[in-house]
Symmetry: C2
């Protein structure tokens, strides 16, 4: 029984847009990810998409407009809503998604789920 230190987990890898699973909660994967640049437009038909910025700043482009998040800010993309995450500089983000959810919204293009 140890706490999960998010900064320590983030220090173990450097790739962008490759989430690492750090815990399990009610059928969801708790993940940390480093991001920089633009991801891709996608949506999740069966789940909301939870973002908490731990360091830096990200913009979540939505069809209705951009939402910019700094450290200590959360945004929850409603299920079915198209979005495209973007970060001008490296940012660190906490994610929560049902276990098995493809990060791109498509199992064919999704990053593998790696547990650390």
């Amino acid at each position: 029984m140890q706490p999960i230190n998010l900064a320590e987990k983030l220090a173990t890898f450097s790739e962008y847009w490759q989430p690492r699973v750090v815990g399990q909660f009610n059928g969801h994967d708790l993940m940390v990810v480093k991001v920089k640049g633009e991801f891709l437009w996608h949506k999740h038909d069966d789940t909301d998409d939870f973002f908490l910025v731990l360091q830096g700043r990200i913009t979540i482009r939505m069809r209705e407009g951009d939402v910019t998040l700094s450290a200590g800010e959360v945004f929850i993309v409603p299920k079915g809503a198209e979005h495209c995450p973007f970060a001008e500089e490296e940012a660190h983000v906490l994610l929560l998604e049902p276990t098995g959810t493809p990060n791109t919204g498509d199992a064919n293009t999704a990053a593998p789920r790696r547990v650390i």
Copy 2:
């Protein structure tokens, strides 16, 4: 469409052990809470219990031993596990529980769920 600024939400109240709902995610309430002192021993038979410390330090007493969390650390109490949160000094915590979960494990003694 606005980000949820957790520090701003926390600045709107001062009571301890009275979670405020700040968002919704997949049937769960996302909550912030200020804690100080000892809560009570309880368990949730139907849900894991998610704690992320935003400021300060808390100890989650478990029957197997204590788990101490500082800012940036997460602990997920497995469903059914008895636990008793404690904080020597004021601490700020992010919680995630299925909507309607009593914070004490018992609807008769639970704090009301207040949305801010």
